[in-house]
């Protein structure tokens, strides 16, 4: 269905820790941040691989870790798995002039989110799959994260849309009309509603 990071809408985490102190970054954490940047720049993996390595953590480990430790685990994982692999430094933003299919939807288009269950990294949260919304605006264009993480050579850039969902659509009777949710979704996830 999705991975442990996909927690939008879940109960059980309690009130927001408003006064949580910002911990000063320890030296190893600053080094790991830099190492991650360097390895992405050198093509050992891309940013989507990095995100997905965090998502693939054992769920209990994920919830028990700070973001610094999650980064460490991700880099450790990727360094083991991709010792010699190299990724083409991609420019995932395709300029509009480069062609590709024209945008399928316009602002105001009613759309439904597909109910697919990708086995890979995805940026379409579980809470919005199968839900109906309205396109508000066009964002940019890029290869979708599912294809970026699989390094699909011929992947084409897709239009990204800002889509608005009414709270009742997402949360039923607990959703308030005054609290809509807006997400940015790749075109491949959207179907028209007649």
């Amino acid at each position: 269905m999705s991975w442990i990071n996909d927690i939008g809408g879940m109960h059980g985490f309690g009130p927001v820790p408003v006064h949580a102190p910002s911990r000063a970054s320890e030296p190893w954490s600053a080094r790991m941040w830099a190492i991650n940047q360097i390895l992405i720049d050198r093509g050992l993996y891309n940013f989507d691989h990095y995100r997905h390595a965090i998502e693939r953590m054992d769920p209990a480990d994920y919830l028990a870790s700070t973001s610094d430790v999650r980064r460490l685990v991700a880099v450790e994982t990727l360094q083991r798995e991709r010792r010699s692999a190299a990724v083409e430094p991609t420019s995932p933003r395709a300029p509009a002039a480069a062609g590709g299919m024209p945008a399928r939807f316009a602002p105001g288009s009613p759309v439904a989110v597909r109910t697919d269950v990708p086995a890979t990294h995805s940026r379409t949260p579980r809470y919005v799959r199968g839900r109906r919304g309205v396109v508000q605006a066009l964002r940019g264009r890029s290869v979708c994260p599912e294809e970026r993480v699989q390094e699909i050579a011929e992947a084409a850039a897709q239009q990204i849309y800002s889509v608005r969902f009414e709270a009742a659509e997402l949360w039923g009777a607990q959703g308030l009309a005054r609290c809509p949710v807006l997400l940015d979704l790749w075109e491949g996830w959207l179907e028209p509603i007649s």
Binding site: I7, V16, A34, I35, C179
Partner: protein, 208 residues
């Protein structure tokens, strides 16, 4: 795809030791060279970045034309101040500014991780990356604002923006009353990270 070799927390040793081990392996394979890290650690998100980044909102408060440009094309507008949302290792990031009004309040979240305009504003407040915030903001934004002690009028809607793709969001709070004639620098000092995410509004201290 390579087989899954996901590292675990149980993999021995403290983070500093594991970091050292990773570094050594990478140096041995040639993926890391001598001064690589030293050259990069200066690029990490810092508190100083926030002090620069919040100037964008102060400028929008005093300059109506800049405000219009910011709302129409935030990336180009912040470039006028020498600022950017782009990060070297994460290509394609864009910025979108959303304004608070008397009838609409905006709240930014990243439910899937903790995406945030770091290159513009530095590291987010610790609460922003918490599971509690990431889970609650999309389902119960009023409850989140209650956690922060922020109450809005019943006729105010709360638009929750989940940063799922390449766009990063910046809230433009309403300029506080009682700041007529203030300079951009004075206004800038009132602006907090919470206000640019949407869990606070900006207020001017009451003069005695």
């Amino acid at each position: 795809m390579d087989d899954d070799q996901t590292a675990t927390l149980a993999d021995a040793q403290d983070p500093a030791t594991r970091t050292g081990r990773i570094e050594q392996t990478l140096r041995e394979s040639g993926l890391l060279q001598d001064d690589d890290i030293a050259r990069r650690t200066g690029g990490a998100p810092t508190a100083e970045k926030f002090i620069e980044g919040r100037r964008v909102v102060a400028r929008a408060w005093v300059d109506a034309a800049f405000r219009r440009r910011l709302l129409a094309d935030a990336g180009s507008a912040i470039a006028e101040l020498g600022l950017t949302v782009e990060a070297g290792h994460q290509p394609g990031l864009e910025l979108h500014a959303v304004e608070n009004t008397d009838s609409v309040h905006n709240l930014i979240v990243c439910t899937l991780c903790s995406c945030y305009p770091r290159a513009l504003l530095g590291a987010p407040p610790a609460w922003y990356s918490s599971e509690a915030y990431r889970a609650k903001a999309v389902r119960d934004p009023l409850g989140v604002l209650e956690d922060f002690g922020l109450q809005l009028g019943e006729d105010v809607s709360i638009q929750v923006w989940d940063s799922t793709a390449e766009t990063r969001y910046l809230v433009v709070p309403q300029r506080p009353d009682g700041t007529q004639g203030w300079s951009e620098d004075e206004l800038s000092e009132l602006i907090t990270p919470d206000a640019l995410i949407g869990t606070a509004v900006v207020s001017a201290p009451v003069s005695t």
